[in-house]
């Protein structure tokens, strides 16, 4: 029996050591507060049956897998009167119904000790009757106050969300072909319906997002575009590319940036067209990636 009692002692010691290391890891990896990813969005606001509504804003955050709280409210210090509704799922685009509002907790993507969760912040004119759609043009939102189901609130720098009014006026650029690849490259070809002069391409978010974007119009970088003439029936090609991010913070940065292409016709009338080629595809992350990100953000 001596050999078995030694085995028992060694086994218990081994379990004790492993358990101590595990408990150390559990406390080391524990987050005091959820960590919100950096979001850089151009969000369109459009007419909707006599009122207005904005695209749902996806908000992603990393929290402990043991966190049973739900994110239930959000407002921004830049627009404290703007009322948002939180939905756990992407809302139906036609009816603007909040399928899972106040429903069960979305456990999100489980990665080791963490869970990456997504909720949708929605704004609609019906719930903001005192806010005129025009006043939302170029509204920039950064300082979010987030409320959880246990009553706790946190203030976070969420990145930058810029609202813009959807331009539904006449346009002389018709989208012909559009493609995107999982290597981060996109391309869109427009057919030019009238002689135009391309004045410039602008974006407030491209530099701020801190992500290496490449956007070219034809063969020229977007920043160099100035008064380029395109004749009727020619093609205008736009190429977008987001690099394979080397720094871990960029890997977790979420963006849906829509630079504005401004042009005029020969009569001098100005028009604009949004470019939809800079959107991340949020590939899945490993536990180590999440840990590196949290360390880079100073949260571990």
């Amino acid at each position: 029996m001596k050999s078995n009692s030694n085995l028992l002692k060694i086994g218990i010691i081994m379990i004790g050591i492993v358990l101590t290391i595990c408990i150390f890891f559990i406390y080391y990896f524990h987050l005091d507060e959820p960590v919100f990813l950096k979001h850089y969005y151009d969000i369109s606001v459009s007419d909707s049956g006599g009122s207005w509504q904005a695209e749902p804003i996806a908000i992603r955050y990393i929290t402990n897998i043991t966190d049973n709280r739900k994110l239930v409210g959000i407002f921004f210090k830049e627009a404290p009167d703007l009322e948002f509704y939180i939905s756990q799922d992407y809302p139906s685009s036609n009816t603007f119904q909040f399928i899972n509002q106040g429903g069960i907790l979305s456990v999100g993507e489980k990665i080791g000790r963490y869970s990456i969760r997504t909720v949708y912040a929605n704004i609609h004119g019906n719930n903001n009757v005192n806010i005129d759609m025009e006043s939302l043009e170029n509204l920039q939102l950064s300082q979010a106050v987030i409320q959880f189901s246990d009553g706790n609130t946190v203030e976070v720098e969420i990145g930058k969300i810029v609202l813009y009014k959807m331009d539904q006026s006449e346009n002389y650029l018709r989208s012909m072909v559009s493609s995107s690849s999982n290597d981060g490259s996109t391309s869109t070809t427009y057919s030019v319906k009238k002689d135009i002069i391309l004045e410039q391409v602008t974006s407030t978010l491209m530099k701020e997002a801190g992500v290496a974007f490449h956007l070219s119009i034809g063969k020229q970088d977007f920043s160099e575009v100035k008064d380029i003439t395109y004749n009727k029936e020619t093609k205008l090609c736009i190429f977008g590319q987001t690099d394979n991010f080397e720094d871990v913070v960029s890997q977790f940065t979420i963006f849906d940036i829509k630079p504005l292409l401004i042009y005029r016709d020969v009569e001098g009338h100005q028009y604009s067209q949004r470019i939809y080629d800079l959107r991340d595809n949020q590939s899945s992350h490993s536990f180590l990636d999440v840990v590196k990100y949290l360390k880079a953000r100073g949260k571990l």
């Binding site: 029996m1 078995n4 085995l7 086994g11 379990i15 890891f25 897998i65 043991t66």
Partner: protein
């Protein structure tokens, strides 16, 4: 002593394969462990040793842990998944269960040794060694997998847990048979399951 081993066998069986009606357990896990505790008590009536007394101390601890675990899961529902309690509970449970089962098997070896049945004693020393190695490995793996919440392996660990229970049940069954075959069986009486 055979009745004691038989009772332990059925106790472990009910603790492992409990029947639920929706979220409500018909035969909760802790009832199975109460049966195990009764079985250990029966063995102690026949052959009292320090080792079986140890097993008798661990058994009620398991009953309390199983009872608390059942109430907690019922109360918390899916929210319990991944919680700190759900991490510590199965590991603590596993350690106590292992210590109890080790004591039952070691007590049985001591019984054979005291009755000059060296071959049986050696056989169960070997079985206890193999069982201990697998159980200790299981607890270590379980700790690592629950720490890093490796979902893909959680099911594998659960399956290893069931295999260990079946293994222990087989050993209880064969010990019961040994007791009957070698005239160590209990005196005739009302032969109930428990």
């Amino acid at each position: 002593m055979d009745r004691g081993y038989r009772t332990i066998f059925w106790g472990v069986f009910f603790a492992t394969f409990h029947i639920n009606l929706g979220p409500l357990p018909i035969l909760p896990q802790f009832v199975g462990w109460i049966i195990v505790a009764v079985g250990i008590g029966k063995i102690q009536q026949e052959y009292s040793s320090a080792t079986f007394r140890k097993a008798g101390i661990f058994a009620p601890i398991i009953v309390v842990l199983a009872l608390f675990s059942g109430v907690y899961s019922l109360y918390q529902g899916t929210a319990a998944v991944g919680s700190t309690y759900m991490f510590f509970s199965p590991i603590l449970f596993g350690i106590i269960e292992f210590l109890m089962e080790y004591a039952v098997l070691e007590g049985s070896v001591q019984y054979f040794e005291s009755h000059k049945e060296e071959m049986m004693a050696d056989e169960y020393i070997g079985k206890l060694r193999a069982y201990s190695v697998v159980f200790i490995t299981f607890i270590i793996l379980e700790s690592i997998i629950l720490t890093f919440y490796i979902e893909a392996f959680i099911l594998i660990v659960a399956l290893i847990g069931i295999v260990l229970r079946i293994w222990f049940m087989i050993m209880m069954s064969s010990l019961k048979k040994e007791m009957i075959n070698n005239n160590h069986s209990d005196p005739p009486g009302i032969d109930l399951l428990v």
